[in-house]
């Protein structure tokens, strides 16, 4: 007799399901079962994956949930068909609306209203009927069962029998059977499955501990007493329910009544409201034409042909509305002065360029539209737009307003267990002290949870860390089993979906932590459901650009100089290229990492093509494929590009014969093998993802056969294919590189010509970029731009550019002309919140603060904020002795409070004030001030930590970065500094190379650590905040770096600074 599991939890029950979907389905297939239901807690997040996988295995997917009701009970709800599924989505959405994001509570009235095509099972022991029976209230149980029968009808309500081997199971099941007979409803057998295999109970139990914030030693009602909730075989189930064969038969009956409920063939994107009488296609054509005139002035036949080609594909794929929606969003941003930039493969489209969404002229650049959209691939278009991070939500709100709250939602993401999160969560649940597991987790790099054991052997910082491995064996095993399990649902950074139908019939909507409504499906699954994701992303770089422009124009307005226009930045500015060539590009978008700086110092970029290639080159693929060296050699003419076929030259000339861009792979396939653009893109995808050698061999044979048929010599065809294969997975989308390249160049221009304004903007928009704020401050100081400490009467909510007073200029003698400095923002002060900041600024606007007492009397800030303001020097201009102010603060606060009260003796109170403040205490030492400033601001306005250590370091012949700049290459040197961003990019050989930067008071020096040294010193490199590196100084291009031969921890406490 076939038994169908109808109450099964997947890992999408969030810490209440311990077997991945594929494993559950494989087990069901082994049983020979014809169907399976997935019933996660209050979500259908597994539905799409479940549907696709089950269908591919010939298993009927039954969609369901275990629903939490407003009465606190659970109920299993199964969808019989698409209508039932839509009702299920509605019910879930209402449950989240009635409850909250962590405790949904479906109203019973809603259950009645949306009960069509749903089958209800009475649920586990948390179901209302079983719970009442266990409480001994049979009559109440009967009333509850009758209520559900009244809601959905006798045929659609089943009393669920679970042989769970828990106390009272016999009594419970017997009572349910009797009740079923009395009410003339059927019983159904389930096993409330939470894991496929009995051996996975410890994993499930620990997940339960994580979910309930308990430890394995604790008692909690949600922890199961035994390991019986596994996926039992039909034979086991039949044996268990031998007394109740009808309960087994009901599973088949229900499975037969339920059909696959998801329709993955639908198109749910809404129609864009076009002007009356016009079709979407015609309107898109008109807008494209208008845009083309604006962009090109004259529409030449090649431009017309290209646009027509794109429009015809867009129309045939019926995605005109999507383009119009994105155009409309870009228009909104432009009209509202919100800075934006289109990115990604959409920049391959001339239509998108003409619509004003991207700034990449794909026709002039010869970019391939098919990389973006093709008939053969028939994938949904994906236009990504970056917005000024501060206004991205304004843009999203526009979309909500335009299409209606019922039709728009944010796409969800699933936070999954990786090594660090798994070690922390499972470690705590197993009872390890939090500090111990945090320290253990921190030692692991960002690897998947199932790579923990492998990482133990691979990384010396773990291997040599004296971790008592024997203590953690059980922990590691559990972590590895939970790899990839979703921990919680979150909001996708930029993804919005718009649906022509009310969204709650397609996906349940639930509130995210930040309040927006999110789907229960991630970006891939929403596309399968027929929705198209709009990627409206936040990019802080654009915020920094906007702030920079504003700051420059504020300065120019004072001098009467013409205003600055970011869009008009010349693309051939010699000084900007010189800056890039120097490798001193910290702050430049996409060009600031150590690898990029090293590349820039060698590449000698002098045009935009070089910048675009740079963006594509410093990626794991090209680095791993050793593409950087040949590229640089050919760029400098030291190596001649060779082409095995003349047709390759026009395709690869711009990258000196190196296949760098994905578009080039497509062009090669089209030109050499006569592939259609769509076939070529398929080749590109096989290359890029390289999941299967079989797939690669098959497409290789096709390529070679077609190339030969196209008149190419067989050997040449094979060579060309091997050439492409050699770069499999390394290619980067040229359109994306071009889109980023534009911002990269322009921010480099700002860095060169307006450093003070640009650094201030970067500091105001943290976190952004590659480096911490203190490094940006160091860079500013290196460019002779002083960082001015926060000042209670000058600093604002942002870092601001100030012309230095003659006094300040004197202090910073090397300041550039005009002498500009960057004033630290008050928002940088630890514990400062926006309300307090606003209070400080608005009160100050009435009249500057004259003293700490004045400040305390006029504002109502928390003591920790005032303390931090004192410690970071914000009151120095009013009173230079910080310790004195701290000493006086409690009395000042007390007296300020008393002064606010009516007093009979106000003069005496004033006198107390004065006399008390006469008590003098010595100020903090410079060292103490330094430490206070860093801990309160996360940066140091004046001195760098290394400056305190310099005298001792000098005695030990340890050079500063300044000294290394003039030191000849090849010398053996020693340097010391704060470690910035140690990382180990993948290499082709698989050997580890660590790159890090040492920061000192003068600047930075890059360090390269090869495998043997890494194996020896890895445990120091990744765990110590400051290092001494001894090695050989190397110069490549304009950049110097140390090849490490010895690494030592720099013990800060040993130095009396």
């Amino acid at each position: 007799m076939d038994f169908i599991h109808l109450h099964v939890h997947s890992p999408f029950s969030f810490l209440d399901g311990a077997t991945p979907l594929p494993t559950l389905l494989e087990r069901v297939a082994e049983f020979g079962s014809s169907a399976l239901a997935i019933t996660d807690h209050n979500n259908v997040s597994a539905a799409v994956q479940f549907h696709k996988l089950a269908m591919s295995m010939g298993i009927k997917p039954i969609q369901g949930v275990e629903l939490s009701l407003e009465n606190g009970h659970h109920l299993v709800v199964l969808a019989q068909n698409p209508k039932g599924y839509a009702n299920l989505c509605k019910l879930l959405s209402l449950a989240y609306q009635a409850g909250d994001r962590l405790n949904p509570q479906a109203p019973l009235a809603a259950l009645e209203e949306y009960s069509q095509d749903l089958i209800l099972l009475s649920g586990c022991r948390r179901g209302e009927v079983p719970a009442l029976i266990l409480q001994g209230d049979i009559q109440a149980a009967e009333r509850a069962a009758q209520m559900y029968i009244d809601m959905v009808g006798r045929d659609n309500f089943y009393l669920e029998l679970i042989w769970d081997f828990l106390p009272h199971v016999h009594r419970l099941n017997e009572a349910l059977v009797q009740l079923a007979a009395k009410l003339r409803v059927k019983v159904v057998a389930t096993n409330n499955v939470h894991y496929a295999d009995k051996r996975d109970f410890p994993l499930h139990d620990t997940l339960t501990c994580i979910r309930t914030l308990t430890q394995v030693e604790d008692v909690h009602p949600e922890r199961s007493l035994n390991a019986e909730n596994y996926l039992k075989s039909p034979a086991e189930m039949a044996r268990l329910f031998a007394e109740y064969p009808k309960a087994i038969a009901s599973t088949q009956e229900i499975a037969q009544r339920c059909q696959p409920a998801l329709d993955l063939t639908r198109h749910l994107f809404p129609a864009f409201p076009v002007p009356t009488g016009q079709s979407a296609a015609a309107y898109l054509r008109e807008l494209t034409h208008q845009g083309a005139i604006r962009r090109y002035h004259t529409i030449t036949p090649p431009i017309r042909e290209r646009l027509e080609h794109e429009l015809s594909i867009i129309t045939r794929l019926q995605v005109e509305d999507y383009f119009l929606v994105m155009w409309d969003i870009a228009c909104f941003a432009r009209q509202n002065g919100i800075r934006y930039a289109g990115r990604g493969s959409a920049a391959d489209s001339a239509v998108v360029y003409c619509l004003g969404i991207t700034e990449v002229d794909s026709i002039t650049r010869g970019l391939l539209f098919e990389r973006f959209l093709s008939l053969e691939r028939a994938q949904k278009p994906d236009i990504d737009i970056d917005f000024d991070a501060r206004y991205r939500d304004h843009v999203a709100q526009y979309v909500y307003d335009k299409y209606g709250m019922e039709h728009v939602a944010s796409v969800c993401t699933f936070n999954t267990f990786r090594a660090r999160s798994a070690l922390r969560d499972f470690g705590k649940a197993l009872g390890f002290p939090a500090a111990e597991v945090n320290s253990l987790a921190k030692r692991f790099p960002h690897v998947p949870a199932d790579a923990i054991q492998a990482a133990m052997g691979k990384f010396p910082e773990i291997r040599k860390s004296s971790i008592p491995i024997w203590r953690y064996r059980q922990l590691f095993r559990l972590c590895e089993k939970a790899a990839g399990f979703p921990r919680f649902i979150g909001t996708h950074l930029g993804g919005l979906i718009i649906c022509k139908e009310p969204l709650t019939t397609v996906t349940p909507l639930q509130p995210a932590a930040k309040g927006v409504l999110i789907t229960q499906f991630d970006k891939d699954d929403v596309e399968d459901l027929g929705l198209i994701k709009l990627d409206l992303l936040s990019l802080r770089t654009l915020s920094a650009v906007e702030d920079t422009v504003e700051s420059i124009n504020l300065s120019t307005s004072k001098t009467g100089a013409p205003s600055f226009c970011y869009e008009a930045i010349p693309l051939d500015d010699t000084a900007t290229y010189q800056r890039l060539n120097s490798g001193k590009t910290i702050g430049a978008f996409q060009l600031e990492s150590p690898a990029q700086r090293a590349l820039q110092a060698r590449l000698a970029a002098d045009n935009m093509e070089d910048i675009i290639a740079s963006v594509a080159l410093i990626r794991p693929g090209p680095i791993q494929g050793n593409m950087v060296e040949p590229f640089i050699a050919r760029r400098h003419g030291q190596e001649k590009p060779t082409y095995v076929h003349p047709a390759l030259e026009p395709i690869l000339a711009k990258t000196y014969g190196v296949v760098l861009y994905q578009e080039q792979v497509i062009q090669i396939a089209t030109t050499i093998a006569g592939f259609t653009p769509g076939e070529s893109d398929r080749l590109r995808r096989v290359m890029t993802h390289f999941r299967s050698q079989k797939e690669m061999d098959a497409i290789g044979e096709e390529f070679i056969a077609k190339a030969i048929a196209n008149g190419v010599e067989p050997e040449v065809a094979k060579t060309i294919f091997s050439y492409i294969v050699g770069y499999a997975g390394y290619g980067f989308c040229e359109a994306h590189a071009a889109a980023f390249g534009d911002t990269a160049y322009k921010t480099s221009y700002l860095l060169e010509h307006y450093p003070a304004h640009f650094y201030a903007a970067i500091l105001s928009n943290q976190p952004m970029g590659f480096y911490p704020p203190n490094t940006i401050c160091l860079e500013a100081r290196r460019r002779n731009i002083p960082i001015l400490p926060p000042d209670i009467n000058i600093s604002t909510h942002q870092f601001t550019v100030e012309e230095l007073t003659s006094q300040d200029a004197g202090k910073h003698a090397a300041a550039t002309s005009p002498k500009l400095g960057i004033r630290v923002s008050l928002a940088q002060v630890a514990a400062m919140d926006s309300r307090s900041l606003q209070e400080i600024l608005s009160t100050r606007a009435e009249e500057p603060y004259s003293s700490l007492r004045d400040f305390c009397q006029r504002t109502h800030l928390k003591t920790d904020i005032i303390t931090n303001l004192i410690l970071c020097g914000a009151f120095d201009s009013l009173h230079p002795n910080r310790r004195q102010l701290l000493w006086d603060l409690p009395r000042i606060q007390k007296l300020s409070a008393r002064l606010l009260q009516p007093s009979l003796f106000p003069d005496e109170l004033e006198e107390t004030f004065r006399s008390d403040s006469e008590y003098q205490v010595p100020d903090f030492s410079p060292k103490e001030k330094f430490i206070h400033e860093y801990s309160v601001l996360g940066l140091n306005a004046g001195t760098h930590l290394m400056a305190f250590l310099r005298p001792k370091l000098k005695q030990q012949h340890i050079a500063s970065s300044q000294e290394l700049e003039v030191c000849p290459p090849g010398e053996n040197v020693s340097a010391a500094g704060i470690v910035i961003r140690p990382h180990r990019p993948p290499t082709k050989s698989g050997r580890t190379v660590v790159f890090l930067t040492l920061e000192d008071e003068f600047g930075m020096i890059d360090v390269t650590i090869f495998e043997d040294m890494y194996q020896k010193y890895g445990h120091i490199i990744f765990t110590k905040p400051a290092l001494i590196i001894r090695g050989r100084l190397e110069q490549r291009g304009n950049a110097k770096s140390i090849i490490a031969r010895r690494v030592e921890a720099l013990s800060l406490s040993q130095y009396s600074y």
Partner: protein
Amino acid sequence: MARRVKAPVQVTCQGEQPIAFLWQGQLYKIVNIIESWKECGEWWEKAPEITVYQVLTATQGLYELHYQATGQWLLYKIYD
């Protein structure tokens, strides 16, 4: 009130069900299994799964027997 005994006992079964046990030289015949359930116990300490039987003997005594997955039977509790 219950008294914890935790003593190994010999048990006679019919199928998987205990029907009698021998403790301190005396044979106790089980007339009714009042309740039974399974427990995993402290799996993190490698404790074996146990099946708990609350039984009524012919002498009208109430006992709790534990069957461990290792094959061992324990008289766990006596209810006064």
